[in-house]
Symmetry: C14
Subunit: 82 residues, 14 copies
């Protein structure tokens, strides 16, 4: 049983990285899907504004993506820095 404290910290960091990324992908994944769904619906009704709608969708998704990227950053920090 040659278990040392650093191993416990490392194991916690591994589990933590997966929880941060796994849970952090859940919200943006659902949210961005809703944005994409409504954008398709809107373009189907008003195809002349497709460029405008695609741009709005991408801007809205980019902001939504931000919390997913924060999760990625925390997960990478947990794996390589801590």
């Amino acid at each position: 049983m040659a278990i040392e404290g650093a191993d416990i910290v490392k194991a916690a960091a591994c589990l933590g990285a997966s929880l941060a990324m796994g849970l952090g992908a859940l919200g943006p994944g659902i949210g961005e899907g809703m944005a994409a769904a409504k954008a398709c619906e809107a373009i189907g009704k008003n195809p002349k504004e497709a460029g405008l709608l695609t741009r709005t969708m991408l801007v809205g998704q980019a902001v939504t993506e931000s919390t997913g990227i924060y999760s990625l950053v925390i997960a990478l920090l947990l794996l390589f820095v801590v």
Copy 2:
């Protein structure tokens, strides 16, 4: 079993950072996605107000983002300060 108290604290901080960020990305991710979805729908119906609607969407998402950023701050504090 050379485990010391500081290791337990560090392991708890690693798990805590991941939970704070993972759960903290869930709410804003879904909320911002709803805002982006409704903005696309509104622009599809009233494309002349696209600039106004994009601005409103971004302001609304920025406020929503705030709780996600609080989570990021707590996660970073847990990793580097505590």
Copy 3:
């Protein structure tokens, strides 16, 4: 196994800070997103009142944000004061 009581308290404070902030970001995140979504919908239908609607959205979101800020306060107290 040089674990002392203060370490247990510190570890509990770390986990607690993350739970307070993670769960506390969930509710306001979803709630503020609903407010932003409906504000976009309303501005799309009645763009002349955009200023009034943005102001109402921000006031409503500010009150909603309050519970998120309480959570941030509790999390910071757990990290630095306790």
Copy 4:
């Protein structure tokens, strides 16, 4: 292992404060968001009554906020009094 009973109580108080505030922010956060969303919708339809509607929204949110404030009180009591 110099753990004493007071440490166990302190650790339980730390975890308790976070659970009280984290869960206690969930309900009011969602509820106040619904109120803000409907207020925006109503003002968009009837902008002449904006003052009346904002006041009603704020009164309704203030009552909803009360359970969030109870949670804050319990959390602060757990941190500083118990």
Copy 5:
């Protein structure tokens, strides 16, 4: 390990107070938010009855608040009496 029975009881009371208040704020928080949302919607449609509607909303919320207050009472009893 100078842990005595009174410490266990105290720790359970701390956790219990937080669970009682945290869970007890969830239901009334969502319920009162629904009441506030519908009151805003109703006033937007029929602003002449704003006083009547605000009064009804407050009465309905007051009854809903009661279970939240019971939770507060139980939490305070757990902290200071037990």
Copy 6:
């Protein structure tokens, strides 16, 4: 470790009181909120019957409250009688 059986029972009673009240406030809180929401909606449409509707809302909420009061009774019994 001077823990006796009576302490275990007391600790279980503390946790039990909080669970009984916390969970018991969830259902009536949501249910009474729905009743209040619909009463506001109905009064907005038919303000002449406000007295009748408020009375019906209060009667309906009173019955709904009953399970919340049962929970309060069980919680108080757990704290002071058991």
Copy 7:
């Protein structure tokens, strides 16, 4: 550690009473709230039948209440008979 079997049984009965009542208040609380909500809606549309509707609501709620009362009975049996 003077823990005896009767203490374990008593502690389980305390936790059991709280779970029975807490969970048992959840379903009827939501169900009766739905009944009260729909009764208000119906009276708002057809106020002449208010007496009939209030009676129906009360009968329906009384049956719904029954499972809540069963839970109360089980909880009281757990506290005082077992």
Copy 8:
């Protein structure tokens, strides 16, 4: 530690009785509430058939109640027979 096997069985029976009744009250409570809600709605639209509708509601609720009663039977058997 004078714990015997019969105590373990008794404790499991206590917890079991509460889970059986608590969970068993959840489903019928929600289901019967839906039936009562729809019966009120139907009587509000068609008050001449109030007797018929009340009877149908009661028959439907009685069948729904049956699973709640099964749960009560199992809970009582766990408390007094096992």
Copy 9:
């Protein structure tokens, strides 16, 4: 600690009986409530077919009840045969 294997089996059977009945009452309880709700709605719209609709509701509920009865059978077998 005079715990024997038969006690462990008996305790597991007690917990199992409660889980089987508690969870097994959840699904049919909600399902039969939906059937009763729709039957009331249909009779309110078409009261001349009340007999036919009540019969259909009862047949549909009887089939739904079957899984609840299977659960009861398993629970009774766990209590008295195993």
Copy 10:
């Protein structure tokens, strides 16, 4: 502590039988309830096809029942064969 391996297996089989039946009754219970609800609704609108609709409901429920019966089979196998 005269616990043998066969007792562990028996206890696991008891818990397993209850989980298989309890969870296995949840899905079909809700699903068959939906079928019965829609059948009542359809017969209310088109009572001349009541026989056809009742037959379709029963066929559909019978197929849905099948997974419930598989669960019953697994539960009985766990109790009497394993």
Copy 11:
């Protein structure tokens, strides 16, 4: 404590068989119920195509059933082959 490895494996297989079947009956049970509900609705509107609709319902349910049958196969393998 004559517990051997084969007993642990057997106990895990028993619990596993119940989880596989219990969870595996949940999805198809709800899904097939939705199919049966919509088939009844469709036949009520268009009774001339009852044969075609019943066939489609059965084909759709048969495919849905497949994952339930996979679960049954895994459960039986766990009980009798492993």
Copy 12:
């Protein structure tokens, strides 16, 4: 206590196979049921295209089935190869 490592691995594989198949049957079961429900609805409205719709439903279900089959493959690998 003649438990060896291979037994632990085997027990984990048994539990794993059941979780993989149980959870893996949940998603496709609900998804395929939605497809079958909508196909019945569409055929009821447009019975002339029944062949086309049945084919589309089967193709869509086949793709949905794929993740269920992946789960079956993983479960069988866990039982017989690992």
Copy 13:
């Protein structure tokens, strides 16, 4: 108790493979089912575009499938490479 570290790793890999595949089949299973349901609905309304709609459904499902395939890859890596 001849348990070695490699056995713990292997057991974790077995459980991990099942969780990855089980959870990973849940999201795509529901998502692809929604796509298939809407494709059937659309073909029923506009059967002339059946080829186009089937192609769109398959492309959309293929992208959705990708996260399910990632899960399969991770599960296979856990079983055979790690």
Copy 14:
């Protein structure tokens, strides 16, 4: 019991990889399915814009996919780098 720290870390990495991928596939799987569903609906109504809509769906799904890919990256890093 020749378990060393590196084994604990490896086991945590295996479990972590599966949780990251399993949870990370849930959100995008549901979100992309919503996008595909709405794209099919829109193409059915406006088949002339099929190319535009397919492109929008793919762009929206690609952004949604990103959080799923982050999860895959974290899972692969956990398996092969950590």
